[in-house]
Amino acid sequence: MALLDVKNISIGFPSRHGMFVAVKDVSLSVEPGEILGVVGESGAGKSTIGNAIIALLEPPGEVIKGEVYLNGARIDNLSAEEKRLIRGKKIGMIFQDPQTSLDPLKTIRQQLVETIDLHLRLGRKGSEKRALELLEQVGIPDPVTRMQHYPHQFSGGMRQRVVIALALCGEPELIIADEPTTALDVSVQKQILDLMRKLCVDKNVGMILVTHDMGVIAEVADRVAVMYNSQLMEIGETAQIIGNPQHEYTKSLISAIPRPDKKVRRFPLVTYIEDVVEQKDEFDVSTHWLGQSREFDMKVADDGTILQLEDLGMRFQITNSLFKSKRRYLDAVKDVNFSIKEGETFGIVGESGSGKSTIARMVTGLYTPYKGKVNFLGKEISAISHTPEVLPYRRQMQMVFQDPFSSLNARMRVLDIVAEPILFHKLAESKAEAEHIVMDLLKLVGMSDDAYAKYPHQFSGGQRQRISIARALATRPRFLICDEPTSALDVSVQAQILNLLKDLQEELNLTMMFISHDLPVIRQMCDRVAVMQHGQVLELAETENLFENPQHEYSQHLLSLMPRLDMLQA
């Protein structure tokens, strides 16, 4: 008998416009000790299933059809109080963001003891002993001391371990993990996945692992369920789903994953995705607005260097004090030297806090460097960063940000958003001409004709990122900085955006600085890569050389952590 059996479940959210069905007729089961991966893109309904099983659907959501059985007993029709008794005791849950899933005002001990005593009735002493054992099991060093600490005193990975310990307090038979490693760095992700795998085997616990990341699935899941548009597309053994997908959607999903093992020219076209007007007519730079006046009076140096960083450094003050000796600083970037040649894509890779975004901010003048120089088109722009002299240089350099939701002004129409830089730099004779250019740019990045009159919130994440790219192109730049441009996007949308960037670069001979924590994406996009850690560049190499033959210890370590999709067909 299966541990969990979900039969033909449908989940709906009643609204004024009728019932919105978030999950349609899904059946799945989990055996003890098994990890079932539930994969899908945002809005596919995968988290909703997990919430329904543990009876924590956000109101007014409700199960409108189907049954849920745990160990053969039906649990979806129990009373609220009976459902509460199952939560934590029979079914545990782990959330995505360890930063927010612990009560900030209570010590780890208080939270553990409260939960253990509730479920196992061990009393204070017994619960504390049990809490220590749990912390040891999830790999928290020195648990006796650490137990006294508050959540903010733990790092992200350690916090997620505490969350797992809390989920284990009632000794549940089933654990639902909703994107448990999405907020973590790749090295920490690996440790957490290993820990979860080990717990499942040791304790014979079944697990539902909800994620959008095929790499995570390949790493730990025994079987996979693929969700798309509220429905279950395909369910089967992990190796079969990844290596030999049957359903059309699964095939296109798999083809959109950036391959870590070899470089492809373009991502194969992803079907089954949101409507995008593909650029059909031939694009000719010599006649297009974007190609005009590209005869810059600022010439690239003879050796082709467009951007050069010399001993660049940035430090932030972390402790303020009246006395100089007591002030503490964090060196976010330390003595960075590299140069980027015209037309190349230069990648910067590293974990969070490695200083990669800080470099981008110094290059664009958002931060003033603590030391060193930024030379752009032969001019030391870091020295003139607050003068009008710098404007013609800034115009040549644009940035695409990570979060498409906060990088567009929600109160401006798309037309005004994209026209703003054109008008600011006086690149158009009249407002009418600027509008004409905007329409053209929107078409270029694959937006439909009526997009200009809408507001950002009317678009999906991928479409918004296209608008951001159109805005960046609006000043006819020759240097584009992309700071994690796709890390907030679904994998199929990511493939589209990366394709778009590649095309634009080819057509406009753009130079790109591409910042990412995602090694497969770097491999697909970049010509050369700098590997960063603690503010320093540890290795700088041709992309293929780095991936095939990493020199620095840390690069080797990072590459070894890259989730492998060995089951992929060649």
């Binding site: 543990i54 924590l56 849950m93 409260e114 989920a167 806090g353």
Partner: protein
């Protein structure tokens, strides 16, 4: 160590605030009316006036006069009231207990009724009682204090004749303190003014607690607490309430100061013999020493409450004490 340097810094800031208020209070002496003509009769000669000014130090250079004022203020000496011809400190000491009793009772009332009401309306959002609380609170927040006071007098004093509408009733003298809390008539007299004064703060606190609580209830750690099977009461009061109170504490602190300030109006409406009445009279008669003393006292109360709130903050929120809250990333 961190807590200590934080405290020193805050004390220093408080001192600066008091000093600037002192400056404004002192400026009153210089610019509002002429103290000499307030003190002497019309037939005093110019020479005598000059002598008096000399004796009172009014001809000293400005910094010296300011320094003397501060020196006096530091020990509570604000000179003689122009009107009552007694030391201002004595006047204030007589009136302070009445105002403090009124303000403290109102503050307690607004906190201990406002917070539970806020929690209740957040947890039972759709309940009938919650909705009526919300409607009544709208009245409390939008009607001015004096109008509510007059309505209360009309209803409970004139029509129903349940409660006295002016004065403190019988008071008992304990040392330097006079209290109305020990006699039945004193307590009855306190009811209307304190409820009037508390109503605005109460509704404000209730609405604030409700909004904060609703926000906290949507956080991940509350969802995670539910997913662990904790009981509703443990979730609501063990986890949600404490997190709700952190931002609320600041506002309550600021509002307690305002209760003292609002007391002026309430005291006038109910003929309450407190400092507010004293202040209003002082304004009418340009009694500058009393005005200056009152100004200094209110600012001292504000500064003290805010300092207390900051210290309390450090106790409630562990993130502030241990690493100064300066975590990056």
């Amino acid at each position: 160590m961190l807590v200590f340097s934080f405290l020193v810094k805050r004390l220093f800031q408080s001192f600066l605030v008091l000093l600037s208020v002192a400056f404004i209070a002192f400026a009153l002496f210089k610019f509002v009316g002429d103290p000499i003509s307030n003190m002497v009769g019309q037939d005093t000669t110019l020479a005598e006036r000059e002598k008096l000014a000399e004796r009172l130090g009014l001809n000293d250079p400005f910094p010296v006069q300011f320094f003397n004022f501060i020196k006096g203020a530091a020990v509570g000496d604000f000179g003689l009231s122009y009107r009552h011809k007694v030391p201002v400190s004595q006047l204030i000491a007589e009136r302070a207990p009445a105002t403090l009793e009124l303000a403290i009772i109102s503050a307690l009332l607004s906190v201990f009724v406002g917070i539970p009401m806020g929690v209740y309306t957040a947890i039972r959002r759709k309940g009938l009682l919650s909705r009526s609380f919300m409607t009544v609170s709208l009245v409390g927040i939008s009607l001015p204090t004096f109008l509510i006071g007059i309505l209360f007098i009309f209803l409970f004093g004139v029509i129903l004749r349940w409660l006295p509408t002016f004065g403190r009733g019988e008071v008992v003298q304990i040392g330097f303190w006079t209290t109305g809390l020990l006699t039945w008539s004193g307590i009855k007299s306190l009811i209307l003014p304190s409820v009037t004064l508390a109503l605005f703060q109460m509704t404000l606190i209730m609405r604030l607690v409700r909004t904060e609580m609703l926000e906290v209830l949507t956080t991940d750690y509350i969802k995670f607490a539910r997913a662990r099977g904790l009981k509703e009461n443990a979730v609501n009061f063990g986890h949600a309430l404490k997190n709700t109170l952190i931002p609320v504490i600041t506002i309550i602190g600021l509002q307690l100061g305002l209760v003292m300030a609002f007391a002026i109006i309430t005291e006038t409406v109910f003929q309450w013999p407190g400092m507010g009445m004293l202040f209003i009279q002082a304004i009418e008669e340009v009694d500058v020493p009393v005005m200056a003393a009152y100004l200094m006292m209110i600012s001292l109360v504000f500064v003290a409450i805010n300092l207390a709130v900051d210290i309390l903050y450090a106790f409630v929120d562990p993130r502030l004490t241990i690493d100064g809250g300066s975590k990056h990333g």
